[in-house]
Every structure is written in structure tokens, then in C-alpha cells.
């Protein structure tokens, strides 16, 4: 019964999306009928309430393990821990698409309830665009990916959730990432709305900024968490693989980062109007490209639940329709957008333009590298693109980007003098140059990219706190703190990446129980290997004792797990976090001679990568709170930065 109710709610929500779109259009055509446009807000809220209720129905079905529902039978199992029963609801194609539209509808409702800053007609047009977006994805769900489909005969028990996904981090990874992905739809809808009503200006940018910032924070957290998950769960010791699925989340983040900075220019200085609108469209387009890549089955990965060509074509068609529609509207209307305020070539605006250009180049490089294998496959050519392509191409531009990041906050808006800027940047630049020389002297064998990366990280660390220099810290606005912390986070993450790439130590050995080996500053002894039993798996657990020099020994317990439903083997790495890095141990196979394979890594400062990611997100959050706070105090909005 619950499944039928859920399906019914979903159809109703889809119906309301139609109503929302039509009311919006009618309201815009007949400005003399305020009741038409006025009805759009409550409809958007109602639509969200319905689809949230439908999503709750699905979660309920998973909790009670209703095996007569096809999705539950295919992805759940009655003796799974409760957390994974709930997260199983979105750990599959249909459920995750339902989560997608749920977040989309919630974002629409959020605009409807909270947004009071933009012109009324722009708001109506924005909600109309959001309704049209939702409609396409409702159609996708209801016509090709119905999550509530029943089975004729219920099986004894379900097939279980992919063990790789049975991880507490993964329970929260999809929702976080989706809030980021789909939250970007608000920027898209605002851009469409502002184009429709010819209202591209600072007011629209100020209204859009908190949404972009919120979605960007979620994306940052999602990417950081996803990277850490891949690091400890896959047992390969790497933190970024340039896997198409990772790129699918990185591309919207790059576009959103660019948008975040250009929207600030538009809000503060009324420049970069057309560019900001374009980026809003691009950012959500990248979210859709990501969804398409991940969900259509063109990629094979733990994320590609559905290998169904019909679904792939449906998603592709939706994506082309929305992106094409928005670009067409952009082409038609951009001529009517007036030129914004001017700025000098040496100014903060110019630095932010530079930031946007570098981000665009990285985005282009990543996009081409990600799509090329798929396109080549269409022509019968099998190609894979990996780190040898991405690292130098994207990495070198990223270093330039970080240098621009240091310069930007040290420049004045509108016009600045080259000499003054150089004087303000002198200390960080000198530090960076000293680091550049010092590192090469101390570690002559270091690779080019890690070498430059570490020097730039040191330059950026000093440069990102420079805006606080000689300032009254108590009177420094919260959003400035946010910027400083986020920029410092970039430096910290970059330092982690560079130090780990340059100085990690790896050992691959076969040892008997009792044997000692060493990796980096640690000596490691395999004490024993024991069989153990978990809730829905059995495992061989290695007991590994490690000690650093003469320090106290500590125990690591890597496992080779075997899950029963579905039958899968996974390797659980054991990671010991020290102040200056992590010791990472993977238990391999037992050879015919009885020796065990052990793979050991000493990864110095690797934790800085995710610490930096968290700092970027925290900085974003401070910035968001600071902006909203200031706007509450002065209704005209914070015009200075």
C-alpha cells in the first residue's frame, strides 16, 4: 500500500510541477493578474512537500524490508544493519534519482519561501524555470525509473547492497553531493529568470549568492568526503584517481567556484553581468553532465547502477534540452543586458577575471579528458585517460590559479597601482621563492609538479592570511574571515597533495607471521592473521604491530572481508593517523608457501588534503553566515567586501 501511496504522491508532485510552470508563464504574461503569479509560491512549496513525502515512503519500504517492491528486493537484505537499510534507499539508481528531484523541489521551495530580495517578476520566472526543470526529471523517474515498482511475486529475501557502499561515510555522501549538485539548479533558474525579465544586475546577484555559496559548500564537503572514502575503502592508497565519477563532481565544483567569485563581482561592483549569467548556466549544466555520466551507465563504476540504454538516452535528451534551451535564451537576451561597471587592468575585478579564466581552462581540460573516451568509444576506439593526462594539464593551471588567489584579496576594487600590489605581496612572494630554492636543495630528486606545488602552497599560506595584516581582527567582518580560511584551506590541501606525492614511502612484501619489515620511519611486524565474523560478513584480520623508532608499538588490523549478500570480497585498509601523516596497511593474499602479502604506505601530511577541504567548506559557511547576517542588519545588502 505504501508503495502505491508513494507513486501517487510522485505523480501529484509532477502534476504540480506542470501547474507551477504554467502559472509562472501566465503570471509573467498577465502582470495585471497578480493572483496568477502569486500562486506560484505556494505551488512550489506543495510540490516539495509531496515529493519529500514520496521519498519518506521509499525509506519506509526499505526500513521494513518490503521485498514485494522490486527496488527493495534488488538492493536490500533483511539482516542488513539499520543504517544501511535507510541509506539503501538512495544507494541505487531509482532511489538516487528520487533523491535528486526531492532536492530539486526542496531548492524550489526554499526560493519560494525565503527569497525576498529580487523583483517579483524575476522570482516568478525563476520558479517557473525551476518547475520546468523538475518536470523533466519527474518524467524521467515516472516513465523509465519508477522506484515504487512492485514484483509479481515477492522473493524470500533481497539481494543486498553492494558491500563497497556499506560504509557510514557513504550513507551521507550521496545526499551531501546531491544538495550541492542540485542546489546549483537555483543558480540556473535564477539566471534563466533574470534573462526572461531582463533583470541581470547586482540585486539578482545578491539574491543568488547565498544559494550558490550553500551548494558550493555541499559540493566541497561531498568531494572531500568522497576522496577520503576512495582513499580508505578502495585500499589503493590514492586520494584522487581522475576517475570519471570523481571528475563528474569536480566539474560542477570548478564552475561553481568560478561562479562564486564572479557573482561577488556582480553583487559588489556591478561588473561581469553576461559572464555571471553564463557561468550560472554552465555550473548547473556540469551538474547535469555529471548526473548523466554517473547515472546513465556509460561509465562502469560503483556508481553506475543502471546499464540501460533507454535511460541513458532519456537523460541525454533532458540534458541537451535544458542546456540548449538556456543557451538559446542567453543568445537571444544577452544583447539586452547592459554593460556593467568598468575596471582597470590592475584591480580586484581583474584578478577575479583571471581566477575565472584559469578555472575555465581547468574545467575545459577536465571536461575534454572525461568525455573523450566516451566519444571515442562511439567511434569504436577504446581509450582511457588517466593521471598522466590530467596531472600536468590541470595541475599546472591550478598552480597559476592559486597564485592569482593570493593576489586577488590584496588588490583594491576598480583600480589599484601595480607597485602597491607588489609591495603588499612582497612577503608571501619572498617566502615562496625561498621555499622553491630550499626544497630543491633539501630534496633534489623531487618531481616537478610536487616541487612547484609545495612552494606555491607556502606562498599561498602566507598570502591568504595577508589580508588580515594590520587589521583590527575584532572588527573584521565574518565573510572576510571566511575568505581567509577558505583560501588558507586551499594552501593546506595543496601542501598535503604535494608532500604526499613527493615523499610517500611504499612497500609491498610477502611475510610470514612474526616477520618484521619497515616502511618510512616505521618498523612493522605481522603478528598473526585470524578469522573473524561481522554482522553480514566474515573476514581474515591481520594483526599488525607498528612502531616508530623506539616509540611505543601500536596495533593495526587490516581485513580481507567476504560479504555474503551479494557475495563480494573487499579489502579494509587499516590506517593509523599520526600528527605528521598516516600509516596505511593493506592485507593481501596468502601465497602457496603460507606467506601473507602486505602493502604498506607511509603517507606524510596526507591528512592535510582533507583538512584543507574541510577548511574550504568551513570558510564558505562563515562567509554565508556573515553575508546573511549583514543583509539582515542592512536591507540594502552588503555592498563592500
Amino acid at each position: 500500500m505504501i508503495a502505491e501511496i508513494g507513486l501517487g504522491l510522485l505523480w501529484l508532485a509532477a502534476g504540480l510541477a506542470v501547474v507551477q510552470a504554467f502559472l509562472g508563464m501566465a503570471g509573467l504574461r498577465q502582470p495585471d493578474r497578480p493572483d496568477l503569479g502569486g500562486a506560484v509560491r505556494p505551488v512550489a512549496v506543495a510540490q516539495a512537500v509531496l515529493v519529500v513525502a514520496a521519498f519518506c515512503c521509499l525509506i519506509y519500504l526499505f526500513i521494513v524490508s518490503d521485498m514485494s517492491v522490486k527496488l527493495v528486493a534488488a538492493n536490500s537484505h533483511s539482516d542488513k544493519p539499520m543504517l544501511y537499510k535507510v541509506s539503501g534507499a538512495w544507494g541505487n539508481h531509482e532511489g538516487s534519482m528520487l533523491l535528486w528531484v526531492t532536492v530539486l523541489a526542496m531548492a524550489g521551495a526554499g526560493i519560494a519561501v525565503a527569497e525576498r530580495r529580487v523583483r517579483r517578476d524575476t522570482l516568478i520566472a525563476t520558479l517557473m524555470a525551476q518547475g520546468l526543470l523538475a518536470l523533466g526529471f519527474y518524467a524521467f523517474l515516472l516513465l523509465s525509473s519508477n522506484p515504487f515498482e512492485r514484483l509479481n511475486r515477492a522473493p524470500q529475501d533481497g539481494q543486498g547492497l553492494n558491500p563497497l557502499l556499506q560504509d557510514p561515510g557513504l550513507a551521507f555522501h550521496p545526499p551531501t553531493l546531491y544538495f550541492g549538485y542540485v542546489g546549483m539548479s537555483v543558480a540556473f533558474s535564477f539566471a534563466v529568470g533574470a534573462l526572461v525579465t531582463r533583470d541581470v544586475g547586482p540585486a539578482f546577484a545578491r539574491a543568488m549568492r547565498p544559494w550558490v555559496l550553500g551548494a558550493w559548500i555541499m559540493l566541497t564537503l561531498g568531494i572531500t568526503a568522497g576522496s577520503y572514502w576512495a582513499y580508505y575503502e578502495l585500499g589503493w592508497g590514492g586520494w584522487w584517481f581522475w576517475d570519471p565519477v570523481e571528475n563528474a563532481s569536480l566539474m560542477p565544483w570548478l564552475a561553481a567556484t568560478a561562479l562564486l567569485h564572479s557573482v561577488t563581482v556582480l553583487a559588489t561592483r556591478d561588473s561581469l553581468r553576461a559572464w555571471t549569467v553564463m557561468l550560472s548556466v554552465v555550473a548547473f549544466s556540469m551538474s547535469m553532465v555529471g548526473t548523466f555520466l554517473v547515472r546513465s551507465g556509460v561509465l562502469t563504476s560503483v556508481h553506475a547502477f543502471a546499464v540501460d540504454p533507454q535511460r541513458g538516452s532519456f537523460l541525454l535528451a533532458l540534458m541537451l534540452l535544458y542546456i540548449g534551451g538556456a543557451l538559446a535564451l542567453f543568445g537571444l537576451r544577452i544583447g539586452t543586458v547592459r554593460e556593467g561597471a568598468l575596471f582597470e587592468p590592475v584591480s580586484r575585478e581583474a584578478a577575479l577575471v583571471l581566477n575565472n579564466l584559469f578555472l575555465t581552462v581547468i574545467l575545459g581540460v577536465v571536461l575534454i579528458g572525461t568525455l573523450y573516451p566516451i566519444v571515442a568509444q562511439g567511434f569504436g576506439q577504446q581509450v582511457s585517460i588517466g593521471p598522466p593526462y590530467f596531472n600536468p594539464a590541470a595541475g599546472s593551471v591550478a598552480l597559476l590559479l592559486v597564485i592569482a588567489m593570493v593576489a586577488g584579496p590584496l588588490m583594491r576594487w576598480r583600480s589599484d597601482g601595480m607597485k602597491a600590489v607588489l609591495r603588499r605581496m612582497a612577503a608571501p612572494v619572498i617566502l615562496g621563492v625561498v621555499a622553491l630554492v630550499g626544497i630543491k636543495v633539501l630534496a633534489p630528486d623531487i618531481g616537478t609538479l610536487p616541487w612547484l606545488g609545495l612552494a606555491v602552497a607556502i606562498l599561498a599560506a602566507a598570502g591568504s592570511i595577508a589580508p588580515l595584516w594590520k587589521r583590527n581582527l575584532a572588527r573584521t567582518p565574518l565573510f572576510t574571515w571566511g575568505m581567509v580560511i577558505a583560501h588558507l584551506g586551499v594552501a593546506v590541501a595543496l601542501a598535503g597533495m604535494a608532500v604526499d606525492s613527493a615523499f610517500y614511502k611504499e612497500r609491498l612484501v610477502a611475510v610470514d607471521e612474526g616477520d618484521t619489515t619497515d616502511v618510512g620511519p616505521f618498523s612493522v611486524r605481522l603478528v598473526s592473521v585470524e578469522p573473524i565474523i561481522g554482522p553480514n560478513w566474515t573476514a581474515l584480520e591481520g594483526r599488525v604491530e607498528a612502531r616508530r623508532g623506539d616509540g611505543a608499538p601500536f596495533l593495526l588490523t587490516p581485513q580481507a572481508r567476504n560479504y555474503s549478500a551479494p557475495p563480494t570480497d573487499t579489502s579494509e585498509a587499516a590506517i593509523s593517523t599520526r600528527l605528521d601523516g598516516q600509516l596505511y596497511v593493506v592485507l593481501g593474499k596468502q601465497g602457496q608457501d603460507g606467506r601473507w602479502q602486505l602493502r604498506l604506505w607511509w603517507k606524510p601530511l596526507v591528512t592535510f588534503i582533507w583538512l584543507g577541504g574541510a577548511m574550504i567548506a568551513i570558510g564558505g559557511a562563515l562567509s554565508l553566515v556573515g553575508r546573511l547576517w549583514r543583509e539582515r542588519r542592512s536591507p540594502r545588502g552588503g555592498a563592500s567586501a
Binding site: E339, V353, L357, I368, Q382
Partner: protein, 144 residues
């Protein structure tokens, strides 16, 4: 600066960035794209030396040998047309076994050996690397 000029300059900059990204990507792709080979392709067209490639096929029956160091293995990948000897140092995936599909990432050596730095095995019963599925259909060694 005149209004018209600034807009034009910004538009040109954006265009230059996009073209720059394209050029950077194309030059990178030329050098670094790892093409997929089956043993038959190698026998036909010669060894692709000096670049990262992927080699896919079936692990030949009774071909897996272990080195005394306990971490290096040797095996033969075949596709019904030809065979390629492969060396791999590392922890082989759990589903890596004889008479089963495998994709090896690495480089060819001039003596015809493939030195793999990563192995992708058939992941579970429902999964097969798409390149492998495609090639396998062509050579008719495996049913879908």
C-alpha cells in the same frame, strides 16, 4: 577605457581561455591517451612502445606463476588470436583468476612482455569492464 572595448577584451579573453583549454587538452590527449589493446591487435599491428596502454583478454589456463618474493606474478593474456606474457607486482584483485577476464594497465617492453602496474578483474557476476565486453564479443571467446 571605453565601455565597448572592455566588454570586447573580456569576451576575447574568455574565448582565448576556452581555446587554450582545448589546445592544452588536445596536446595532452595526443601524448597520454591510453589505448586499449587485445593480444590479437598487438600481434597484428606490432607493439605500442613507450606509452601507457591497457591490455585486455582472458587469463590463460594454468599460466599464473608466482615469483619467490611472493608479490610478483607472471601470467598470459589471450584472446583466441594471440597471447601476451604479463608481469605484475602487487596485490592481484580478488576476482583475478585463470580462465577469467582481466584488464591490465601498464606498458609493453621491447621483448614483448607487458609490465602491468594495475589489474582490473571482473568485479562481480554482473560487471564486466566495457572495453572487455566489446572486444570479447568481437573475438567470440565469451558469451554475454
Amino acid at each position: 577605457m571605453k565601455a565597448k572595448n572592455q566588454r570586447l577584451i573580456l569576451a576575447l579573453l574568455a574565448l582565448a581561455a576556452v581555446i587554450g583549454a582545448g589546445l592544452l587538452a588536445v596536446s595532452g590527449l595526443k601524448q597520454e591517451a591510453a589505448f586499449f589493446y587485445a593480444p590479437g591487435d598487438v600481434a597484428e599491428n606490432g607493439l605500442p612502445l613507450g606509452k601507457a596502454v591497457r591490455l585486455g583478454g582472458m587469463v590463460a589456463d594454468k599460466s599464473i606463476r608466482h615469483d619467490p618474493d611472493g608479490v610478483t606474478i607472471h601470467f598470459v593474456v589471450e584472446d583466441g588470436k594471440a597471447k601476451v606474457p604479463v608481469t605484475f607486482k602487487g596485490i592481484a584483485p580478488d576476482l583475478f583468476k585463470e580462465k577469467s577476464g582481466v584488464v591490465a594497465e601498464g606498458e609493453f617492453h621491447p621483448d614483448g612482455t607487458f609490465v602491468a602496474n594495475n589489474l582490473l578483474a571482473k568485479h562481480d557476476e554482473r560487471y564486466m569492464p566495457p572495453e572487455l565486453a566489446g572486444k570479447m564479443h568481437k573475438t567470440d571467446t565469451l558469451k554475454p
